[in-house]
Amino acid sequence: MKTATVLVIAILSQAVGDVYVTRGMKAVVEISSQTAPTGGLWAKLLSYVAVGLHAARSPEVLVGTLCLIVFFALYSAALSWADLSFVLPATAFGYVLNVAAGHYLLNERVSSVRWAGAVVITFGVVFVSRSGVRGARNAIEAMGISASPDGATIVATNPGGSNAPKEVPTAEVLD
């Protein structure tokens, strides 16, 4: 529950940060393209440097970056008590939120194929986060039995993805 709360706040600040950062970078590119000369490789590299310098002074990029730092701090905190392979899929719910933010807040043209892709990613994320193998595997190992390599049977008995080994009934784990 603690992990879920922290990650929900993290995902929201990530979406807000991404919207600000995207707005800022799009504006920076517009300014830079007005001043940068068109030409060879050096001119191109110079224009990239110009984009970087403008980005460092863009208030929108800075505000967005601050939001993303909040995201990073909460994410790092969660990593101190939870596995990377649990925290990562949980935060991936933010991908769909960001597509929605791009469409509704940034007026991006999001085609049905792109929405479908985001939805498929969400299903993948649900699959990944439902495979709460860690707790169940620990419970089995505590009983002196090694976990099956695929872990599929354990997953079915532990749909909540609980990390608490004690909550896994012995009979169901062995089923």
Partner: protein, 126 residues
């Protein structure tokens, strides 16, 4: 094309960063307090941890690439595309952190790959 290159940098830098920060934070220890002084001491320990600092470096590379990608492409393309980092991170979790990866988790990862493919072929910018 440059967007794809930058997204690849986002993913690789981010994955290396996540594996290293996880190692670092596990060494630093669980944050079980909200007392400011104690939190500052934990932050100090994290900032003197080599794994954590290496992770932050790779995350910085990843972040600047992310900014570059957002300068040339849609957020609704760049962000879902970066979810391909799942594959890299799961492989990292399996081989570097020695975590067990179930068949169900691999299935989810395959779905994520399919989703990313759909997002990348979808019309829009670029």
């Amino acid at each position: 094309m440059i967007a794809i290159l930058l997204i690849a940098l986002v993913v690789l830098g981010g994955s290396a960063g996540e594996v290293l920060t996880t190692r670092g934070m596990k060494e630093v220890g669980e944050i079980s307090t909200l007392r400011p002084l104690e939190l500052i001491r934990i932050a100090g320990r994290a900032l003197s941890n080599r794994n954590f600092l290496g992770g932050v470096f790779f995350m910085a590379v990843s972040y600047f690439s992310f900014l570059g990608a957002l300068a040339v492409a849609d957020l609704s393309l760049v962000l879902p595309a970066t979810s391909i980092s799942f594959v890299i991170s799961t492989i990292g979790a399996k081989f570097f952190l020695k975590e067990h990866i179930s068949a169900m988790r691999w299935t989810g990862i395959l779905l994520v790959c399919l989703g990313v493919a759909l997002v990348l072929i979808s019309p829009g910018k670029p």
